[in-house]
Amino acid sequence: MSWAAHDLEPYAFQRHLKLKVAFVPLLIGSYSPDMMTKWFVYGIHIGPWDLKATDPAKFHRGWPGFGFTHSLLYGLVIGLIIWKVFGSKLWGLSFVVGQFAHALTDTGDTVGTMLLFPWTFHVHLNAWAYAGQTGRMTDAAAYFSGLGSMWDAVWMVYGFYSWRVLTSDFFDNYIYRGDRFWPWINRWVPRGALLTIYRAAFFYGTSRWIAWTIWAHVIHHYPYDLSWGGPHWVHAAHP
């Protein structure tokens, strides 16, 4: 489980692939594996009802469950559907790149992903603890105390190093020019607002990373544990 990498990775890909990818489907692809499932992993309260998966890790990443959303096959199938139904190979391919990045990044935790689904083997590097089953706040505290947050920081630093990807010139020459979506939406939304929307995921990922780090370590004093598989003070889920 990653908290900011999925917001930041698309900018790194955009820097290198320029007109070969479209930003919107790239970002949607990067978010897609968790889109339908995260709320049920952490659980929600609706009136008197508590809705939460009985086995959050299995529901999120396993089979039976929605773990197939973190497989390469899922990315390819949805990418192919986008290509054939909407007639845009660029959108289809960009979705695949974003979804692959998410599926590969999430192999870093202790549950990992069924990358080669329908083969249900979980590829997992065990670098940081998967603690989604403990609830959102404990998961946040654990994630921002372990190597997962350091991996996010790598993407953040790379994003700042690649600052030109966030400039107005880059937006005009590659993002706007490379995808008909932007001129289409520009009929109703001014260009300045579109530029801000393009930068939004980077802003969101970076600001959120800083805010959760302050929350976990300045407000609540959770201990850092940057050892492999840590933090070990939380109960990590395994496949």
Binding site: D7, I197, Y204, I210, W212
Partner: protein, 65 residues
């Protein structure tokens, strides 16, 4: 040629001004988020906030002045 290469790598004054604006917006977002963590949970809240803080407010201020 070398000077041009160097110029391409260094942000302009305008780039830095835009960056400073985003840093200010981020500082407020982080302060709210640390106090009310629910604020940090939604991507759409983040998008709405930054559009308001980094585009709508400066545009309105520019028009008024």
């Amino acid at each position: 040629m070398r000077l041009r290469l160097l110029r391409d790598r260094i942000p302009t004054r305008l780039d830095l001004r835009v960056f400073a604006g985003y840093c200010l917006a981020a500082a407020v977002y982080i302060a709210i988020g640390v106090s009310v963590t629910d604020f940090l949970l939604s991507f759409w809240v983040g998008v709405a906030y930054i559009v308001l803080a980094a585009w709508a407010v400066p545009t309105i201020v520019r028009r008024l002045s």
